[in-house]
């Protein structure tokens, strides 16, 4: 997967699931087989892109993510496979 150097802080193992509503992070890699990763990438989930977590269905799953000018709903099971770098200081959990 394409790795872009960046000065964001890396919280090991952080994924899209860790974002709360309004949080923004940079996509690092997609942990899915080629074809499925491609589909995500065509929708804007490219390594290096900024992703903002939006609203979700009741219960937090699926959640809408804002990426590259679109809003895309992802299930938790998929969001878990998208590794991200959190910018600036990591959020308290």
């Amino acid at each position: 997967m394409l790795q872009l150097s960046s000065n964001s802080q890396i919280e090991p193992g952080a994924t899209l699931v860790d974002l709360r509503r309004g949080d923004t992070a940079t996509l690092d890699s997609i942990d899915l087989p080629g074809e499925e990763a491609r589909r995500l990438m065509e929708l804007g989930f490219l390594p290096g892109m900024e992703i903002t977590a939006g609203r979700s269905a009741p219960g937090g799953d699926p959640r809408v993510f804002q990426v590259d000018g679109s809003e895309i709903a992802l299930r938790r099971e998929t969001a878990r496979l998208l590794k991200v770098r959190l910018p600036r200081k990591p959020r308290k959990s």
Partner: protein, 628 residues
């Protein structure tokens, strides 16, 4: 949602070989999902293919004719939306094959109209790379100019055209803005795109970087985030308010239908009674008059009276579809879908099955996973389609008193919503069984693009209602009319002493009596039995049959009220049994045909028919015996 019965899968127009003249050019419309290709297609051709505000509405190619200003004609081919030219699902395969000339039924187009959403240009430009590399003359169309302007976005069209090496047009297909530029392109020389350096198509990040570069060169300024979409999502996707709003909308739909549209229905009923009496008075007493009055007026007429209600239902569905709310409903419902092992993509076909299972089953083509697709096809006919709706209306109006449960909620509405829920629960249960046994499969990621909310246009809603009326009346005037004529003949033979027999002794009566032992355990008599048999042609034929039978049978034949008559023939338990039978049974020839076509054989339609019949019979049996 879209059309029902008959036209399933037939391209809008056949491509006839025109002798002598130069054959018209063939131009394909392609673009990402929900970029407005079909809206543009309808603009160019004057046709009315189904459109809605969510991705994946078009699942097969449609062809229509555009009349150019100089009188020449061009064939326009509308294709399903694609994000790239590497096909994964069946609808994408179709788009890919047509564009590359690999599809037998559609010759390769000579030019391409590439439709991109101007409000999301940077990403959508990615598709320009594979399309331009086909080398076909291409017009790049930036749609939704009105949205781009309103949200202060900007793009330099000249610079973009220079970067792409192809002409560019900024239009709004919805408003009809800029359509003349497309006609100019079609009427002109249609130049091939100039060769520019294109990225390696298989490399998505490189394609995106290329698209971003082109966007920058064209001074593309993306529009501000859609303010109202964010505000409305704060309501519709709110954990509590979202669910309350959803429930409120559903209640509102049915309350309106029962309280405000049913009076309209009485008006239509009155029209049929008056016109029927007039026809009866001017025609001499004859067998032909009997056929016309008993078969056509009473039979077909008793179905047509439900037109106002059906239209009101479709008006609401149309508003939900065109506004973009359905995509949110899909997100809210996804949890349930995930629990039964279905993916989110199954939800949109299931929703459209509320109109008709035929287009719903076709729209499962957007589902890449074969097993998920078959599971969705298997459960779609359980959703309450619009042919069941008049049957439910008749029984509910005849048997359920209109009491108020809450100030804004009546008993009839509760029962009606319950019937819709019953179909959904049965669908979910069946999916659970299938997905945990024969159709088990691995998970595929759920991705659904949320469209911005848009105001439904009056024109689009009006056209939907018109189309719906045509479909409804066409069914009444063809399938149902034909069944009524057959029924009338069956009810008038064999003649004895030059006179038709009493209904009970006619062929129709004998058939009804023959199946009575089978249906008696469900609380149905031989007359309902005749209705059940005819309803396998189309569900609402039950109403026509009962209307005709009561007209032919009773002594007071001029004043038979169908609701009262059916009340005499069914016990409350029998009425519930009838509702359950209609909720579960597969009484639809068109659905069986489309399932056979989409699954490529008789296996699945046979399994489905048998399963649904057994469930319907057992369900009706239990209902009748529990309620009595």
């Amino acid at each position: 949602m879209s059309d029902c019965n008959g036209c399933a899968g037939v391209p809008v127009l056949e491509l006839p070989g025109r002798k002598g003249a130069v054959p018209p050019a063939r131009v394909a419309v392609i673009g990402p999902p929900n970029s407005g290709k079909t809206t543009l297609f309808n603009r160019l051709t004057g046709l009315r293919q189904k459109v809605a505000n969510f991705p994946g509405v078009t699942v097969e190619q449609h062809t229509g004719v555009a009349q150019l200003p100089d009188g020449r004609e061009t064939w326009i081919i509308d294709l399903p939306g694609v994000y790239s030219l590497s096909p994964r699902s069946e609808d994408e395969q179709i788009a890919h094959d047509v564009l590359t000339g690999q599809r037998g039924d559609t010759p390769q187009p000579q030019a391409v109209l590439l439709v991109l959403d101007a409000t999301n240009l940077a990403r959508h430009l990615m598709l320009a790379a594979p399309i331009l590399s086909l080398g076909l003359p291409t017009l790049v169309i930036l749609n939704m100019a009105d949205d781009l302007r309103k949200r202060s976005g900007h793009v330099d069209l000249k610079a973009l055209a220079a970067q792409l090496g192809a002409p560019v047009a900024l239009i709004s297909a919805r408003q009809g803005e800029g359509i003349d530029q497309i006609f100019e392109f079609l009427a002109g020389a249609m130049p091939k795109p100039l060769l520019r350096e294109l990225p390696v198509l298989q490399d998505v990040p490189k394609c995106r970087a290329w698209a971003g570069h082109i966007g920058n060169q064209a001074k593309y300024r993306p529009p501000l985030p859609p303010k109202w979409t964010r505000r409305l999502d704060a309501l519709f996707l709110h954990p509590v308010a979202g669910v309350v709003v959803f429930a409120f909308v559903v209640i509102l739909v049915f309350q309106t239908i029962f309280n405000y549209v049913t009076p309209l229905m009485n008006g239509v009923k009155w029209l049929f009674a008056v016109s029927g009496n007039w026809v009866a008075s001017v025609l001499p007493e004859s067998l032909f008059r009997s056929l016309l009055i008993d078969g056509v007026w009473k039979g077909v007429g008793s179905v047509v009276v439900f037109l106002p209600q059906v239209l009101m239902l479709f008006l609401f569905i149309g508003i939900l579809e065109d506004s973009g709310y359905l995509a949110r409903a899909a997100v809210i419902a996804d949890r349930t879908m995930a629990k039964v092992g279905l993916q989110g993509k199954s939800f949109i076909p299931l929703l459209s099955a509320y109109a008709c299972a035929v287009p719903a089953i076709m729209s499962t083509r957007t589902i890449e996973n074969k097993r998920d697709r078959i599971a969705t096809i298997m459960i779609a006919p359980f959703m309450t389609c619009s042919a069941r709706f008049p049957v439910y209306m008749l029984i509910v109006l005849a048997f359920v008193p209109n009491w108020k449960v809450l100030p804004f909620l009546s008993t009839q509405t509760v029962v009606m919503i319950g019937l819709y829920a019953l179909g959904f629960v049965m669908a979910v249960f069946t999916a659970r069984v299938l997905k945990s046994s024969v159709l088990k499969s691995g998970r595929t990621p759920f991705l659904l693009e949320m469209p911005s909310y848009r105001w439904p246009t009056l024109q689009s809603l009006g056209l939907r209602l018109l189309d719906r009326s045509v479909v409804f009346l066409r069914r009444a005037g063809t399938v149902i009319l034909l069944v009524m004529v057959i029924l009338w003949v069956a009810a008038h033979v064999p003649f004895s002493h030059g006179k038709p027999p009493a209904l009970e002794n006619s062929v129709a009566g004998i058939v009804g009596h023959t199946i009575e032992p089978v249906i008696k355990p469900l609380g149905f008599n031989w007359k309902i039995g005749i209705g059940l048999i005819t309803s396998f042609a189309a569900r609402e034929t039950l109403i026509a049959t009962m209307g005709a039978i009561y007209g032919m049978d009773s002594a007071d034949e001029n004043s038979v009220d169908l609701q009262k008559a059916i009340h005499r023939d069914l016990s409350p338990g029998g009425a519930v049994a009838l509702l359950i039978f209609f909720a579960f049974a597969m009484q639809c020839v068109s659905t069986i045909a489309v399932v056979r076509r989409e699954t490529g054989g008789w296996k699945w339609p046979l399994v489905q028919f048998t399963y649904m019949s057994v469930v319907a019979y057992v369900g009706a049996f239990l209902a009748f015996h529990i309620i009595g």
